[in-house]
Symmetry: C2
Subunit: 200 residues, 2 copies
């Protein structure tokens, strides 16, 4: 679509610039991680003026933080399979599929590394997971209302327990993330929840 003056709806130009800049940011992270990311490179790849990138995003950390906000907004709807077990298995499969995706895996590795180096990135990553976990809490709440897990169970703790073994292998112990590992993470989280381990 041509950005002819008068034909672009309000915000259209700004939204297009942001989309191009965030796509270039993601590209740089996939290519070489956080330290391959510079506002100059992003401006060149996105076809946007350097001044615009520096004014609006300030730094590499600002670019990563905005990419994480965009990723949080674009997340898929949570599953509703009719059972907590089904929903947790779907959640584990989604996390595993994301981390093993040839494009998204390197993006997550890069933002996790960026968060270790930079406080702004760390806050943005924290916000990203707060959003993701909140999206899935209704699945656990439905399980609670169906009596599948004890009253008083903290939904966030159940969801953290599903993700944690997958991220541990991905970012820390560097062990394979098979489909079986994901299903076992979901089963273990459910077993712990049933036993009352996440009652607060």
């Amino acid at each position: 679509m041509d950005a002819t003056p008068g034909t672009v709806r309000p915000g259209g130009r700004t939204a297009k610039v942001r989309a191009a800049v965030l796509a270039a940011t993601q590209e740089a992270l996939v290519d070489g991680g956080f330290h391959a990311l510079t506002p100059d490179r992003v401006a060149a790849v996105a076809g946007v003026g350097k001044t615009t990138v520096y004014r609006r995003w300030r730094s590499s950390a600002g670019l990563v933080a905005d990419l994480l906000r965009d990723m949080a907004e674009q997340s898929l709807p949570a599953a509703d399979t009719g059972s907590l077990e089904g929903d947790l298995r779907a959640n584990a499969a989604l996390v595993r599929d994301t981390l093993t995706d040839p494009r998204m895996g390197p993006v997550f590795a890069a933002v996790i590394a960026a968060a270790a180096c930079d406080e702004e990135c760390a806050k943005a990553l924290h916000g990203f997971y707060a959003t993701r976990l909140a999206e899935w809490t209704p699945a656990v709440e439905r399980g609670l209302s169906r009596g599948e897990i004890p009253a008083g169970t903290d939904p966030l703790d159940v969801l953290r327990a599903v993700s944690a073994p997958l991220y541990y292998r991905f970012a820390v112990s560097r062990e394979p993330l098979t489909a079986d590992v994901a299903q076992r993470a979901a089963a273990a989280a459910l077993a712990a929840a049933r036993a009352g381990a996440f009652v607060v």
Copy 2:
């Protein structure tokens, strides 16, 4: 102790150089993370010739890999409290104490970030956790022989389940690592193990 010729046991000089180089490596990681680490800086801080550092460690990644080998060798003995619950709680407390330590926390953040950027660091980090997990498997095996968890339970999976929620908060979701979080991680891992979630 003075390194007077004739009074140093074989290997003493080499061991001293390594200790100084690894201390300087750790210092650099605490100060500014993986990207603050250069063989030149390490040589200067350690009081060792650059040529020695480049010949023996080759690169920043080589320094991190050797630091991780050294850390794996120096780990504390695993607990033996008489119950699996006690041992897993001790394990969780140890992991939490390490990650919240003002010196070791930044070292772990830096090596996790380094592993995201560099394959040699990733392999070394994988090796470090393989060593650490193996040291604690006897605790789970004693629990198995006492009948505290079902036969066929994978000891490594139980130990991964204790660590994973702590590392998830530390490196990924960037949430606080309280003593209560550690104890809940141990309790959840034990509950899942008792329910047979880690039977292979």
